[in-house]
């Protein structure tokens, strides 16, 4: 198993359903407009907007960016307490209870996809009523980031093991992929050459974000053709 994702930029129209779904699934606390303007918003997945050209000939480009679950993750060696470490199935895991909050991992991350909890979590009412019981809350002073919805991965693999069968391709969907109306996000096992994500990752349109940093991300972006 090596979990990975393919993002088809041709299909992404920047609707941000993935961002909302991620917040709901992963109990990401909201910080309010004031703190958000001070750079304290936590978006495990974000839709980056880039404009090309000069007005009025502008072209808008969207790029959903989440933790790239790098094979050579720069965040992992720098963590003094192994809070950031690699799992056997290729996930870049963050163990909240080990984190002491040096924030070194976030500095080392070229993608800036790691978020620090500046305050204890709180939600605007009535959002506190929809917390996901499968995901732990993070207290002030720790780092958090995209987990590829590890709670869903674990639930499905345990279920499949109990039923003594392999996990089917497409059986696991992180919240972002599930919510994407255009199905721009495809998740699956990169070790299985026939899986949808493997086929998409091999596409000639495919490239990695900041590939020259040598981080070997598990996320492949398929470039826009239209």
């Amino acid at each position: 198993m090596k979990w990975g994702m393919a993002v088809d930029l041709d299909r992404c129209d920047g609707c941000s359903a993935c961002v909302t779904a991620c917040h709901a699934e992963n109990n990401i606390s909201t910080v309010g407009a004031d703190q958000a303007s001070r750079g304290r918003a936590k978006h495990w997945i974000r839709v980056e907007r880039y404009w090309e050209g000069e007005f009025p000939d502008v072209r808008l480009k969207f790029r959903p960016v989440m933790c790239q679950h790098c094979e050579n993750a720069p965040c992992e060696p720098v963590c003094p307490t192994y809070a950031s470490h690699h799992t056997e199935d290729g996930l870049n895991a963050q163990v909240y209870n080990r984190c002491i909050g040096t924030r070194y991992c976030a500095n080392a991350c070229p993608y800036n996809v790691r978020f620090f909890d500046f305050f204890n979590p709180s939600w605007d009412k009535p959002l506190q009523l929809q917390l996901n019981p499968d995901v732990s809350l993070r207290e002030v002073g720790v780092m958090e980031k995209c987990t590829f919805c590890v709670q869903r991965i674990k639930a499905t693999t345990i279920q499949a093991k109990a039923e003594d069968r392999p996990v089917a391709d497409g059986e696991i969907k992180p919240a972002c992929a599930q919510a994407c109306p255009a199905q721009a996000l495809v998740f699956g096992d990169l070790d299985d050459p026939e899986s949808a994500v493997s086929r998409l990752s091999r596409s000639s349109r495919g490239s990695k974000l900041l590939e020259d940093r040598g981080t070997k991300p598990a996320v492949t972006y398929l470039s826009r053709q239209s």
Binding site: R38, G39, R103, N112, R213
Partner: protein, 450 residues
């Protein structure tokens, strides 16, 4: 005019034996500032880290700047003391202890910051390698864990290095005092009687420490530089950072020492012991280090410019002529232009000149560390995630209070230990360093016993 031995005793022991009301005023003022910083830190823990200006993506700011700055200042003691001892430079004698004390206190202050800046400082002990119920060791690949070992080694070494030559002086105080003070100094003097055997052991111990402390000091600031150069951040991943940081550390250390010496000379009336020649010699060292610093910056900048890597060039121009340019050029003036002019021209190499140049260097070196950390973090690869850091009161108070903490510790130290090594001064017979008085070491040491 050379002071007699009894005059040396009375001059240098005066601050220990007599306390004026001014001492209490000074201690109260600086203690209040340190307490304010402590309250700030506690409120940061109470209300959440968000009351600081740290933000996504600039996750390190004033705290890490202060950390690197103070660890840098701590290099004063090593260079002056260890190296000057090893080459047996006679003029070092009244200067060594001032320098060694700076090392110990600056290290203690600097070593606070890796804890202050933690999100969960109450778990800082997880950096200790101890067999824990969590069944994991610290990650020995992390430069922060290297920091932990390097700084602890250096702190232990420099404490020993400071303490060893204090033993004979503690004995002098012991012999001159009565009551509780006598009992305390009896303990501190560790049974010093000044026998030839004891002198011999002290000398060997100090020789060992002087040699051992130099590589430790070099390694400490190299490892501090590794905190940056090991992370793939534009302008951080640089092979020059090790020596660049060590040179900068020694540079700021000398500046700190010069300021401390000038203040001590005036406040404690040590005009007979700290001569203009001491300032001039250290001023020349400051000049050398300013040139070395300029050389490193020139190297770093020019190589980056020719490398022309887009993400690095973004940070490069940001410091060179965009938003951080005022700070950058202040740094260049403080670290290079000012010391070059003031220390390069003999007429300006006076005590006042040294102090002005040193103040410039202290400001410049603080800015240097800030300019290494913040512009790079706010300008990493993806333009979407650029960010601006604005320090908040809590950080400004804590960073500013470190200077008060340094002064406070220094004032208290001067109260309990003679700030100029009495026995070393006597052993050198306090001759001006013109090289015409080769001292038979053993003989002069024996004289001190009498």
């Amino acid at each position: 005019m050379t002071p007699s031995h009894s005059q040396i005793n009375s001059d240098l022991l005066r601050p220990l034996l007599r306390t004026s009301w001014k001492f209490y005023v000074v201690v109260t003022i600086f203690l209040a500032i340190v307490v304010a910083a402590l309250v700030s830190w506690l409120s940061q823990m109470f209300y959440g880290f968000g009351i600081s200006g740290i933000r996504w993506p600039v996750y390190w700011g004033f705290y890490v700047t202060s950390f690197v700055f103070w660890i840098g200042i701590s290099h004063a003691g090593t260079l002056i003391s260890a190296i000057l001892r090893l080459v047996d430079a006679g003029w070092r004698r009244p200067v060594t202890r001032c320098a060694e004390v700076i090392t110990v206190f600056a290290l203690m202050i600097g070593a606070m910051f890796p804890i202050i800046h933690l999100g969960r400082p109450w778990l800082a002990f997880w950096l200790f390698p101890y067999p824990s119920e969590r069944l994991i060791w610290p990650n020995f690949r992390s430069p922060l864990v290297w920091d932990f070992f390097a700084i602890n080694t250096y702190l232990t070494g420099s404490l020993l290095f400071l303490f060893l030559p204090m033993i004979p002086d503690f004995a002098v105080v012991r012999d001159k005092s009565t009551g509780l003070r006598r009992r305390i100094y009896t303990l501190l003097a560790l049974g010093w009687r000044g026998t030839p055997k004891q002198w011999h052991r002290l000398e060997s111990a100090m020789a060992i420490m002087a040699i051992a402390i130099v590589p430790v000091a070099v390694s400490v600031h190299t490892i501090v530089s590794f905190d940056f150069s090991m992370a793939p951040v534009p302008m951080w991943q640089s092979t020059i950072f090790g020596p660049y940081f060590v040179a900068g550390a020694i540079f700021s250390g000398i500046a700190g020492l010069l300021i401390a010496m000038a203040v001590l000379r005036r406040v404690l009336h040590l005009e007979q012991y700290l001569h203009p020649i001491h300032f001039e010699n250290l001023g020349k060292l400051l000049l050398v280090m300013a040139l070395l610093w300029g050389y490193f910056v020139f190297n770093e900048r020019l190589v980056t410019y020719y490398g022309n890597e887009p993400s690095e060039m973004a940070v490069f121009w940001r410091t060179q002529r965009e938003s951080f340019a005022p700070l950058y050029w202040t740094m260049v003036i403080g670290n290079f232009v000012l010391p070059l002019v003031l220390m390069g021209i003999k007429r300006f190499r006076t005590i006042t000149g040294c102090v002005i140049a040193s103040l410039g260097v202290v400001v410049g070196m603080w800015l240097e560390r800030f300019l290494i950390i913040v512009p790079s973090l706010g300008h990493k690869y993806l333009p979407y995630s650029y960010g601006i850091y604005r320090p908040q009161p809590v950080e400004i108070i804590i960073a500013g209070a470190t200077f008060a903490a340094m002064t406070l510790l220094y004032v208290l130290f001067v109260k309990i230990v003679p700030i100029i090594s009495i026995w070393e001064l006597k052993a050198g017979d306090h001759q001006p360093p013109d090289g015409s008085h080769p001292i038979a070491k053993k003989q002069s040491l024996r004289e001190v016993e009498g």
